[in-house]
């Protein structure tokens, strides 16, 4: 189960989070976890639109070596990148007059959060949520 959604406009961000929620539901995630996943996707996809203009979100079902099932989301763009990751992950930091809670909040909502960013090249963020058995 893999979904790849190109993010060009707000509609795509909405579509991505709806798909994420559907997939989470299919995998048996609780309502709260479905909501966490949908909101995290929404945060990453909206960031792509605001800061990079366009990019993509890939949502896939994954399995760990310990046979745990989860959902992995990769949001990537070829935008300006982030020069200071620590700052970007600080509660309340924003360069666009937003709430500045998207990245740090997503990190709290998910089990895994990995971010790679090269200035001038782009940003790729991978997040995971595991199904607790």
């Amino acid at each position: 189960m893999v979904e790849n959604i190109q993010i060009f406009q707000e509609y795509d961000a909405i579509l991505a989070r709806q798909r994420g929620r559907e997939m989470a539901k299919q995998l048996g995630f609780s309502l709260v976890d479905q909501t966490r996943i949908a909101i995290s996707i929404s945060e990453l996809a909206r960031n792509i639109l605001i800061y990079a203009g366009e990019g993509e979100v890939e949502i896939r079902m994954i399995e760990s070596s310990g046979h745990k099932t989860g959902l992995e989301i990769r949001a990537s763009d070829k935008g300006p990148g982030i020069s200071d990751l620590e700052m970007a992950l600080t509660d309340g930091y924003t360069s666009s007059g937003g709430l500045g809670m998207g990245l740090p909040g997503t990190k709290r909502l998910m089990d895994d959060f990995e971010i790679r960013s090269d200035v001038g090249k782009g940003t790729s963020i991978t997040i995971r949520k595991w199904l607790s058995s």
């Binding site: 707000e10 961000a13 479905q34 909501t35 909101i39 929404s42 909206r46 709430l99 809670m101 709290r108």
Partner: protein, 291 residues
């Protein structure tokens, strides 16, 4: 399929013959495309398709991706747009491809009569090659329909950010559906206009029908509430579902500056209570003054 390759090549070199047979068959079957275009037009549209398909079968490239074949992809996008435009269904492509399959099956049987053991492999290759365009058609058709549905629901949403006056001094705004940036702006504008018009001092903002509240939506709610306050109206936010509330807390979004109540009824009860206290306070201060 190497042994049969020459035979296949021969078969597919004869594209005009296949095309003739295919078009003939589509006519006989009364294919839906022909309700919207002439056979000559359909033939022209099918030319590229047949060429691409033949090339894929010949090169044995059965595991290709439509996305890696720009010519084929463009062609299929054209079919999708046409189908949506003509109001044809998601399955419109199926009889069209099936018809070609039928022609190819017969040609293959004819062609490989000397080497029938090659047939299963040749069939399977042909099926595989023809399946991808069909899958692509369906998914891009659905994506297109989703886009249409979305823009329609956006249009409805524009009509449906209603502000209802439910009491003297009290207006309510029940929000339903996804909130994006442009909708957030409309909500704010509609509400502020209504406050000015009705001189309302209380606003019930109900988000029971809003599926997702991310930091963007939360921010626009906070801004709306603050703007209303500047106009002298107090907002009460109702209908935050428990899982949304829980997620917002974890996100670190602070709605602490906004009065929230579980549902619309509780919100209204709260407002009526506030109105009563403030009017009795006004009454008390009046009696104090007069004494």
């Amino acid at each position: 399929m190497s042994a049969s390759l020459d035979e296949l090549k021969h078969l597919l070199d004869n594209q005009d013959e296949i095309m003739d047979a295919w078009m003939h068959r589509l006519e006989d079957e009364g294919n839906e495309w022909l309700e919207h275009m002439s056979i000559a037009q359909l033939r022209q549209k099918s030319q590229v398709f047949l060429q691409e398909i033949s090339e894929l079968i010949l090169t044995g490239n059965v595991d290709y991706k439509v996305e890696d074949r720009p010519v084929l992809e463009a062609q299929l996008k054209g079919f999708t747009t046409d189908a949506a435009h003509f109001g044809m269904g998601a399955t419109a492509f199926y009889p069209y491809v099936t018809s070609l399959k039928y022609i190819l099956i017969h040609k293959l049987i004819e062609q490989l009569s000397s080497a029938p053991d090659q047939l299963p492999a040749a069939f399977s290759d042909m099926y595989k090659v023809l399946t991808r365009p069909y899958e692509y058609f369906i998914s891009s058709y659905i994506a297109m329909r989703e886009r249409i549905i979305y823009s329609q629901s956006r249009a409805i949403a524009e009509l449906s950010t209603p502000v209802i006056q439910i009491w003297n001094d009290v207006v309510a705004m029940p929000l339903i559906g996804e909130i994006d940036t442009s909708r957030a702006k409309e909500i704010m504008e509609n509400l502020l206009n209504a406050i000015l018009e009705t001189k309302a001092t209380y606003v019930l903002l109900d988000i029971t029908g809003v599926p997702i509240v991310d930091t963007g939506v939360a921010e626009s709610l906070i801004k709306t509430v603050e703007a209303a306050r500047l106009l002298g109206a107090q907002c009460v936010l109702t209908g935050i579902r428990p899982e949304v509330a829980q997620t917002l807390v974890m996100l670190g979004v602070d709605l602490g500056s906004i009065v929230t109540k579980a549902d619309f009824r509780n919100g209204l009860a709260y407002i009526l209570e506030m109105m009563e206290t403030s009017s009795s306070r006004a009454f008390v201060s009046k009696t104090n003054q007069s004494s």
